[in-house]
């Protein structure tokens, strides 16, 4: 009896393992049939039938989803791409929230079975690459990627940002077209109503926000205005901080080759004092810390707020949104303000040259194939397809210039960018081109965007990498410092802690070990310069 039971159990276990193994070998067999041996054809970009690959393959992809549409190879935007490359993209479910996304990315790596292609912040890809999870791409680029090679040969800055400290390249970069990202968005019609001019200095800004609050620019007879609002918590208050010469955009900055910590800078004290004054007088949304997108939008649709700080394409999206109720709405974008200290106006809020990256799993069966399709993404033809979608449906060619059709540009509810996502636009790694972006935005928006560009100052590099011991210190010390800093910044602004306590706060940060953190940042920064 007893023996029989054991037998049953063991048979069960064997059965299960056989099934599991079966699944695995199934995948391998399929992989083995694809042409690894045909590497000699590597340099031919396109095959006889006009496709990038001879045989159709399935590539699993882990990338940020878009709330506007589900991933599918059949969507209007994706179809020409997957047909041309002969790739059936298998989209893996990824969380939309940044933190959740990173969490799942880490867990996927820990789990061992990796998708072929993974999107992540650069630091994580380099870390994975140095540990052997992602394939070093140097050789693949050399042999299979003429288009991409040309890009990095022509732009040494890109090469510097994508190279890891060990000299390898572990990811394909998504290369940005413009630097502008956030700007101050203002209700021009409110300014006109009150006979005011757009503010140029912090003092004028104060006066205008005050006028917004007191002089009823929305004309409903009630004193219900919340002049300035934001949906991006403390970062939304950046335009009030930067005129004083310091920026929330970066934890560290470089002064004469020395890395320094932003949040203990003496200039920050004045900046916080100014911001706290605006908050105290009700010129900044009292709920800026808890606002989400929904509340932020309602502030505009209810016409209680007339100013915000947000990404430049949002200007048009907001205009569309408010325009439904009030067609007279007219939004404008402002350049950074002049502060009292005489520092030239600037902003560090900008798109990074390299936005994100895609790494190839070192266990993938399709390394060469992926390199080839990826190279097509960087080719002129590929760029056109990635940026513009399907000829005749989402764009047309006029005088050799691509132009979006009304399907994208004239959507009733959505701004063009959102409409593109809805049609299946995916942000793979490819190069953006200003030409493409100009076609997407209206001339008014393009002009506002270009007015910001001269004010953009280079930011602390995002492509730094760290050794394990360095990470340990950063992880323990810097996480605690950040917790304390986040807590205190908001307290200073909403006034629950007086600005006079700023020096005590700086002392506390020193005590928590900012020196050790700065030393590590400095070392990493120096390594970056030497790449």
């Amino acid at each position: 009896m007893k023996k029989e039971r054991w037998m049953k159990g063991i048979t069960g276990v064997i059965l299960i393992s056989v099934t599991l193994v079966g699944c695995q070998t199934g995948g391998q067999e399929k992989a083995a049939t694809t042409p690894d041996a045909k590497a000699s054809e590597a340099n031919k970009p396109v095959n006889a039938n006009g496709k990038i690959l001879d045989k159709q393959i399935e590539v699993s992809v882990y990338m940020r989803p878009r709330p506007e549409s589900v991933e599918s190879n059949e969507l209007l935007w994706m179809k020409p791409i997957s047909e041309k490359t002969n790739v059936n993209f298998k989209w893996l479910k990824a969380p939309a929230d940044v933190n959740d996304y990173i969490e799942k990315f880490n867990l996927t790596l820990a789990g061992g079975t990796l998708p072929d292609l993974m999107e992540a912040p650069l630091d994580l890809l380099n870390k994975g690459g140095e540990n052997g999870v992602f394939e070093p791409l140097n050789k693949l680029i050399e042999q299979n990627m003429p288009n991409f090679k040309k890009i990095i040969e022509q732009n040494p800055a890109i090469l510097k940002d994508i190279k890891s400290d060990d000299g390898n390249i572990y990811f394909f970069p998504q290369i940005s077209a413009v630097k502008t990202i956030n700007l101050q968005i203002f209700r021009q019609d409110w300014l006109d109503n009150l006979g005011l001019k757009a503010p140029k200095t912090t003092e004028e800004m104060y006066q205008i926000l005050k006028a917004f609050k007191e002089k009823d620019p929305n004309g409903n007879g009630k004193n219900d205005e919340i002049p300035f609002t934001t949906r991006s918590k403390i970062k939304g208050l950046l335009p009030f901080i930067e005129p004083f010469g310091v920026s929330f955009e970066e934890d560290f900055y470089v002064d004469n080759g020395q890395v320094k910590y932003t949040f203990t800078d003496a200039k920050l004290k004045d900046a916080l004092e100014y911001t706290a004054r605006l908050y105290k007088e009700g010129l900044i949304d009292k709920e800026y810390i808890t606002n989400d997108q929904k509340i932020w939008e309602s502030r505009f649709t209810n016409e209680v707020s007339g100013a915000t700080f947000d990404s430049f394409p949002r200007l048009e999206a907001l205009e569309k949104l408010v325009g439904k109720a009030n067609p007279k709405v007219n939004l404008t974008g402002l350049t950074p303000l002049q502060g009292p200290s005489g520092i030239a106006p600037f902003t560090k809020s900008q798109q990074n040259l390299i936005k994100n990256g895609f790494g190839i799993s070192s266990k993938s069966k399709f390394k060469t194939e992926i390199a080839k399709i990826q190279d097509w993404f960087y080719s002129p033809e590929g760029q056109l397809a990635m940026n513009f979608g399907k000829l005749g449906e989402t764009y047309t060619m006029e005088n050799n210039e691509p132009k979006y059709t009304d399907l994208v540009m004239k959507d009733k509810n959505n701004a063009p960018l959102i409409k593109m996502y809805e049609l299946g636009h995916r942000e793979f790694a490819y190069q953006w081109d200003i030409r493409y972006e100009n076609a997407m935005v209206s001339p008014k928006l393009a002009q506002i965007r270009d007015s910001i560009t001269p004010f953009i100052k280079p930011k602390y590099p995002v492509a730094l990498s760290f050794k394990q011991q360095e990470r340990d210190v950063l992880n323990s010390k810097f996480t605690e410092i950040t917790t304390y800093k986040d807590e205190m910044m908001n307290k200073f602004i909403i006034g629950s802690e007086p600005i006079s306590k700023f020096d005590d706060y700086v002392k506390q940060i020193d005590k928590m070990g900012i020196d050790a953190v700065l030393k590590i940042q400095q070392a990493s920064y120096d390594r970056y310069l030497k790449r």
């Binding site: 159990g9 933190n99 820990a110 540990n131 918590k233 989400d292 992880n475 323990s476 807590e487």
Partner: protein
């Protein structure tokens, strides 16, 4: 067929525990795995105890749990007892169904409801306060309110669902006892006090014991959604701190070390509580 459950428990229950214990004593590197990572001894434990925030985290975690013990734990018992007195079975079932609906509302929705209700500019609560001539308050920015808000949301979400167990226990009470009591002249209040309450006492004690074992843990999702740097002072608990430092930064050793610390403390608490329960009542976990 003892083997399959044994295998199940080995693979899915014991191996992970052992792994977590091992990882907590290593500098675990997700790329190298358990066999490639280096040993670190008690580094992560010491690191956690030495954290500037250790005291605050412990206090917040314990306080929120204590509040939950005082308010959230007895509420479903009282609710079940009250509903038990309702004789109209249609109303009874309706109330019961409605009461456990919040359990099915996702935490994200619960949090955004809280934000909406408490908003100083458009929130219902503030609008009511203004009617009574009081000032608008930004409840979610003031650390003084956090414990109250969290406890209330927790209560609202779990009340009906937790009561289900007590309803089940109530139906297990022999109805003859009530009849006998009525013959002896006991009124409703006497019946509740001498029959119903002792009848469900074992359930109450077991659930209380289990709850005490989790005194150092909190379902931190709701907190992560409700807190902000301004309320860290009262809202930051062990779970949220570990989430920021252990999970987001992929420092799994640290997260495991704290998890282990929580489990050991939980085990200690539950042993003590069980001893007390055995001493003063007939019910205990073992």
């Amino acid at each position: 067929m003892f083997l399959p459950p044994l295998i199940y428990y080995l693979i899915f229950r014991y191996v992970p525990v052992v792994m977590a214990v091992v990882i907590s004593m290593m500098d675990y590197n997700i790329y190298k795995g358990i066999f490639g990572s280096e040993w670190a001894g008690f580094k992560h434990f010491i690191d956690f105890f030495n954290s500037v925030y250790f005291g605050r985290l412990l206090r917040n975690t314990l306080m929120i749990n204590l509040l939950s013990l005082v308010f959230v734990f007895p509420a479903p018992i009282i609710f079940a007892l009250l509903l038990n007195e309702v004789r109209n079975s249609l109303i009874k079932r309706m109330v019961q169904t409605i009461s456990y609906l919040p359990h099915f509302v996702s935490t994200v929705i619960v949090a955004s409801m809280a934000v909406t209700f408490l908003s100083p500019s458009v929130g219902l609560i503030n609008n009511i306060l203004v009617q009574f001539g009081m000032e608008r308050t930004n409840f979610l920015l003031d650390p003084n309110y956090f414990w109250g808000i969290f406890t209330f949301m927790d209560l609202w979400k779990t009340l009906g669902w937790s009561a289900i167990l007590y309803f089940a226990a109530l139906t297990g009470i022999n109805t003859e006892l009530y009849e006998a009591a009525r013959v002896d002249g006991a009124n409703r209040w006497h019946q509740t006090w001498h029959i119903t309450l002792p009848g469900i006492a074992p359930t109450i004690i077991i659930l209380l014991l289990l709850k005490i074992g989790h005194m150092l843990e909190i379902g931190y999702e709701l907190i992560v959604l409700l807190y902000n740097p301004n309320t860290y002072l009262t809202a930051d608990v062990i779970g949220t701190y570990v989430y920021r430092r252990g999970i987001l930064d992929a420092n799994y050793s640290f997260a495991s070390a704290v998890g282990l610390f929580q489990s050991v403390m939980g085990l200690l608490l539950i042993i003590i509580a069980n001893k007390l329960a055995r001493k003063y009542s007939e019910t205990s976990l073992w």
